[in-house]
């Protein structure tokens, strides 16, 4: 192919990007299309295997009653075994309002306090100070995200542990603020939110600080010259100029928080006690994938997950529209052959 092409194209002196494609024959065009699919093939296979097929399986499972008791005997893929029982079961669950309440509380509180609030505060602070120092502080805030979750939670368990091991108890115990008990057990929500929030904040932090740094310095100087205080500059210059990044972080992180459960699983496993910190995504995981219980309910668990999948697909499509991602999907610049 290479040889043939080079003889064909040998005579071209000064090719123009528009002119060249006209000279390619139908055969080479077809070949280039096949080539394009060749480039795409590995990605397509992976997406089909780990996105499309799992979504379909999940939907079908959620219609079946597959559990450890009938695993291997129930033909869950046959439509005759399908029903909507699992979905009515979700809403009839004795703890339904508990799971829903936990999820909303967890998502909204973590989002407001950390993924948005702390992220914005640290972004404002690190862009206010010396550039290099700001960079170093942002980097330190990235550490929880870079640390393996198992080690990160190990550290927090120890920080919150009871006397004499716990680090908080070591400092606050003598002051009478804590009484020496295990603090994750005593205040599970506080630690679930802080532990997740310190990881989550870095996402907004990085996005906000690059958006703030992109604001022309003149705007900030003008505000200062006009006698604006720091707070006024933030309120009237900075915040309006980064409203798109703010909206982006809020929506993106809502979805992340709604479906994340890894840290909760490691820290409290939904406890202490009965479902104290069990959120929706963790409930689905516990029902269908936790090997400890011995009574795995794939069908029922899948129904819990399907609801998150539907929210996830809906939200992802909306983001694409709202943030005009479709405009990024422009025509390719080059298509010579």
């Amino acid at each position: 192919m290479d040889l043939k092409l080079s003889t064909e194209r040998g005579g071209i002196q000064s090719p123009s990007p528009v002119g060249v494609p006209n000279q390619s024959s139908k055969v080479t065009r077809l070949r280039s299309k096949l080539g394009a699919y060749g480039f795409m093939a590995p990605a397509v296979v992976l997406i089909v295997l780990f996105f499309f097929i799992p979504v379909i399986i999940l939907f079908i499972l959620s219609l079946s009653d597959l559990k450890s008791a009938n695993f291997g005997t129930l033909q869950w893929w046959l439509p005759s075994n399908w029903s909507l029982v699992n979905y009515t079961k979700i809403f009839a669950d004795r703890f339904f309002s508990k799971f829903l309440g936990n999820t909303l509380f967890y998502v909204l509180t973590t989002l407001a306090l950390f993924n948005f609030g702390t992220a914005l505060a640290i972004a404002l602070l690190t862009t206010h100070i010396n550039r290099r120092a700001g960079f170093v502080f942002r980097l330190m805030w990235l550490l929880p995200r870079l640390t393996p979750s198992v080690i990160y939670i190990l550290m927090w368990r120890r920080i919150a542990s009871r006397v004499p091991h716990g680090i908080i108890n070591q400092f606050l115990g003598p002051l009478g603020i804590t009484s020496g008990e295990d603090l994750v057990t005593a205040l599970p929500w506080l630690f679930v939110i802080v532990v997740n929030g310190l990881i989550g904040a870095s996402f907004g932090l990085v996005i906000f600080s690059s958006a703030i740094e992109a604001i022309p310095r003149d705007f900030l100087r003008a505000s200062k010259v006009d006698g604006g205080s720091t707070l006024q500059t933030i309120r009237f210059i900075i915040l309006p100029m980064i409203r798109w990044p703010i909206l982006f972080v809020l929506t993106f992180q809502t979805l992340s928080l709604l479906t994340s459960f890894e840290q909760i699983l490691l820290l409290t496993d939904g406890g202490p006690g009965l479902f104290r910190t069990e959120v929706w995504a963790l409930r689905a995981y516990h029902l269908a994938l936790s090997t400890e219980s011995g009574n795995t309910q794939w069908g029922y668990g899948a129904a819990w997950a399907v609801i998150l999948v539907i929210i996830g697909i809906g939200a992802a499509v909306i983001y694409m529209r709202v943030f005009k991602f479709d405009e990024l999907v422009q025509e390719p610049k080059i298509d010579l052959i």
């Binding site: 480039f39 990235l142 995200r145 393996p148 198992v150 070591q170 025509e331």
Partner: protein, 281 residues
């Protein structure tokens, strides 16, 4: 007045230092504890010791469990497999999406974006059945493939953006000289994208090295397929007496490559985590 001004200007630093204390204190404890007989709070009790690090020479946590080197090799294999596959697959697909016009291109690009925003952890139950069908449950390759799949939408999107920014003059020249698309991709474009590819590679390696949820869900316990995270977590359950000294030393051991990246590739890390972070929280 001058004093007040000075206090005011150092206030941001003070607030920032306070803000990173809860983050840093855990690492400090990890370091102290891994060299101590035991600790109370941040204070070592008894004398400092290297005993906790004996896991490097002999199997920790009793017989019946694989040695640390076996587990480290597993983790390294998964992380490297992820790095190579994510980079290769994403840069192939990213190149096609950036440069070639083919039916389905727009749709595929939109799909990539949707999948990038989509929370893939919700699919774990479905993937469990895919892996069982392919006989890849409880294998390293299965775990690796799942994680590659999860990182791919981000990788493709990132690489497509990199390709979009490469001037196409050189590429055009090569094509006119008779190079094939594959040759152009490999010999002309990829070498100009080294920093971007390095960033994606680091991101993929770290997420493979750190991963816990996917290996934990698709392998069984601290067996021969265990990765460092799964292994470590297995020995701090509520039912067994935890050997904190060894656990912290193993933890610190696992942090070594992450720490190296953290120290030597700071700029890359900050830029990549702005776009790449979606899982977790």
């Amino acid at each position: 007045m001058a004093l007040r001004k000075r206090i005011w200007s150092s206030a941001p630093y003070l607030l920032l230092v306070i803000s990173v204390v809860p983050i840093m204190v855990g690492y400090l404890w990890l370091l102290i504890n891994s060299f101590s007989t035991r600790t109370e709070g941040l204070l070592p009790v008894g004398e400092l010791t290297l005993n906790n690090w004996s896991f490097l020479l002999e199997t920790p946590f009793g017989r019946g469990y694989p040695s640390i080197w076996r587990v480290t090799l597993n983790t390294f294999l998964i992380a490297s497999f992820m790095t190579i596959t994510v980079v290769l697959v994403s840069s192939l697909a990213g190149y096609a999406l950036s440069r070639l016009n083919f039916p389905g291109r727009r749709q595929f690009l939109s799909l990539t974006l949707i999948l990038h925003a989509f929370p893939s952890v919700t699919l774990l139950i479905g993937i469990f059945f895919v892996l069982r069908t392919l006989s890849l449950y409880n294998t390293l390759i299965g775990v690796g493939l799942v994680m590659v799949g999860f990182e791919m939408p981000f990788g493709i999107w990132l690489m497509k953006g990199f390709f979009d920014n490469v001037s196409w003059d050189m590429e055009r020249a090569a094509l006119i000289d008779g190079a094939s698309r594959l040759q152009v991709w490999w010999q002309i474009i990829i070498p100009t994208l080294k920093p971007g590819i390095a960033a994606l590679a680091i991101f993929a390696f770290v997420s493979g090295w750190n991963a816990w949820l996917v290996p934990k869900t698709f392998t069984i316990g601290a067996g021969k397929q265990a990765t460092l995270s799964v292994y470590l977590q297995n020995f701090q359950g509520d039912t067994v007496a935890v050997d904190w000294g060894t656990v912290t030393a193993v933890g610190l051991f696992q942090l070594i490559p992450v720490a190296l990246f953290f120290i030597f590739t700071q700029d890359l890390l900050l830029s990549i985590y702005a776009g790449g972070a979606k899982g977790g929280s």
